[in-house]
Amino acid sequence: MNFLATLKVALAALRVNKLRSMLTMLGIIIGVGAVITMVAVGAGAQARVEDQIRSLGSNLIIILSGNFTSGGVRMGSGSQLTISEDDAYSLAREIPSIHVAAPTLRGNGQVVFGNTNWATQISGITPDYLEARQWEVVAGRPIDPTHVDSAAKVVLLGQTVARSLFGDADPVGETVRIRRVPHTVIGVLDRKGQSMIGQDQDDVALIPITTARKRVLGGTNVKTRNVQNITVRVRDGADIAATEQEMRDLLRQRHKLQSSQEDDFFIRNLSEVLAAQEASSRILALLLAAIASVSLIVGGIGIMNIMLVSVTERTREIGLRMAVGARGRDILTQFLVEAVTLALIGGLIGIALGAIASFAVGHFAGWRTEMSAAAVLLAVGFSGAIGVFFGFYPARTASRLVPIDALRHE
């Protein structure tokens, strides 16, 4: 008996009991639909995280001032600055895969305009910093090299600071006092929102690094050219890990560290934090798919149940088929094909349903969903496998019937 004939016999048997076939398929339909939808929602969430990574800059590396060890006493990190402006310039000059390396000198201080004031973070920067952070100036103009060279008293305000001091008024051209030193506001920075750890990135005032050192932040840092951190942007497509290693080697060499000494700086890679987030969203997607596949298995058990009923009901038919020459494997194939056909048709309807549901979730809940071809193929394969797995036992039961017993069955 060839396969096409078997398929025809199976389809005919399923047509005879349309309602029952539909109800049997329902389990698989819901299961596959749920898997497709959940995978689409999970993939959507993952894609959103990936977008976030791209916007925050996965090729951003931050070098922080590290431990300073003096006569066996290890000071806490940042207690004394161990990296310098010159480290930054050297990095940018000597490592080709680095796009920009921007040193930042930071401190806190009060910014005063008229009778209002606001405590914020003051960062002394070079023009490269805006490039490294991909930070646009939305009003006015950015800090340029001449400002740095002349230690000009100019300031770029973050959105939060601008709003706190000026409300809706335009701050450009106004004079604010930063730690009592008057500065001209030359621009307002674009909104950055919260950082990964929930800090308001817009609560900042940027001034030229030379101005910060000589006139505003002062202190011991004036004598040295040390800074708290260096923001490095790696060229697109460059190997982040390799670049990190080159940076480490170069800094150790510049700081004259022996191989036995530990680094006196930290290198932080933003993509590590984001990778952890991505991993957690992937786990969520897997979890959703796992829960959904439980309903697939329940659907499979439904198929087995109905196939067993069907074998009992059609015992006489099986006996007759055997009497006119059907071998055990003909009967086995017939019932197996019936079960697989049920499962596959259910799977196809489930995919359609899942596609509609994913679209609905995307449309009405506003979640991003992404249907993948892999999930569809997996669902088809899985429902077929369920048909074989749960159809085998009933089919084997049928194929092992004794012809005369089956014929006499009432």
Binding site: M1, A12, L320, R321, A323, G325, G328
Partner: protein, 253 residues
């Protein structure tokens, strides 16, 4: 028909079949030996429990004996594996049952094709052979009717066409008229006699004397043993059927 040199179509020796029944055993067949030659029309008689159905199942390769031998056309088939028996049933034996055993919601044509499906015959050849057999039993116009749309006599004729479709040597009919009225019974027996005249060996299991009267040989079973083996001058079922139609419609005469 039965010459001393020709191999009998069916040859059984000391055939025994024992069924386990709970703690005890039932000896359904207790040592039966008989030869049936090609072309015979045999009626197997006996009350229920006499072993005639068990005999029929063994002859039809639907079951295997507990002991004894069975040669079909010279070939030892008593203890063949299931699939080999299925092959013999498929190619060499046609079955006719009391309850017709047609597949419901399936056309007459497809019912007749069923054995060819399992013989692996391609679709076009299947249709042609099934059509020819349906025409032979006088149902050419009913090809696409389902069993529910056919009368009992027509259903049994579809079943006979199905039995014929593989051109078997032997037709086994188990109470073929048990579910039919007497007029239709005569027509079915006339069909079986006609097939017998064309050279097919026919064995009919029945408990009705009227039906056995159409056979040329009567085998009688009792308590699992063959107790009678007599030749018989068969009545002509076709003539009787014609006479009955005459009676029913005297105006037409």
């Amino acid at each position: 028909m039965r010459g001393p040199d020709s191999t009998p179509l069916i040859s059984v020796r000391d055939l025994v079949k024992v069924y386990p029944l709970g703690e005890t055993e039932v000896r359904a067949l207790a040592g039966v030996s008989v030869d049936i030659a090609e072309g015979e029309f045999v009626a197997v008689m006996g009350p229920s429990g006499s072993g005639k159905s068990t005999f029929m199942n063994l002859i039809g390769c639907l079951d295997t004996p507990t002991s004894g031998s069975y040669r079909f056309a010279g070939e030892d088939v008593a203890y063949l594996p299931r699939d080999a028996l299925a092959g013999i049933r498929n190619h060499r034996i046609g079955f006719v049952f009391q309850q017709f055993n047609l597949l419901p919601r399936t056309s007459a044509l497809e019912n007749v094709e069923l054995p060819l499906l399992y013989a692996g015959v391609p679709a076009a050849a299947r249709h042609a052979a099934a059509r020819a057999k349906l025409a032979q039993v006088g149902l050419a116009s009913r090809e696409h009717h389902s069993p529910a749309q056919l009368s009992g006599g027509q259903q049994q004729r579809v079943a006979i066409a199905r039995a014929l479709v593989n051109d078997p040597k032997l037709i086994l009919a188990d109470e073929p008229t048990g579910a039919l009225d007497s007029g239709t019974s005569l027509e079915v027996m006339a069909l079986l006699q006609e097939l017998n005249r064309s050279g097919i060996t026919v064995i009919v299991v029945t408990h009705e004397q009227d039906i056995a009267a159409f056979a040329s040989r009567l085998l009688t079973f009792r308590d699992g043993k063959l107790i009678g083996d007599l030749p018989n001058a068969p009545k002509d079922a076709a003539a009787l059927a014609a006479a009955q139609r005459h009676q029913a419609e005297p105006a037409a005469a």
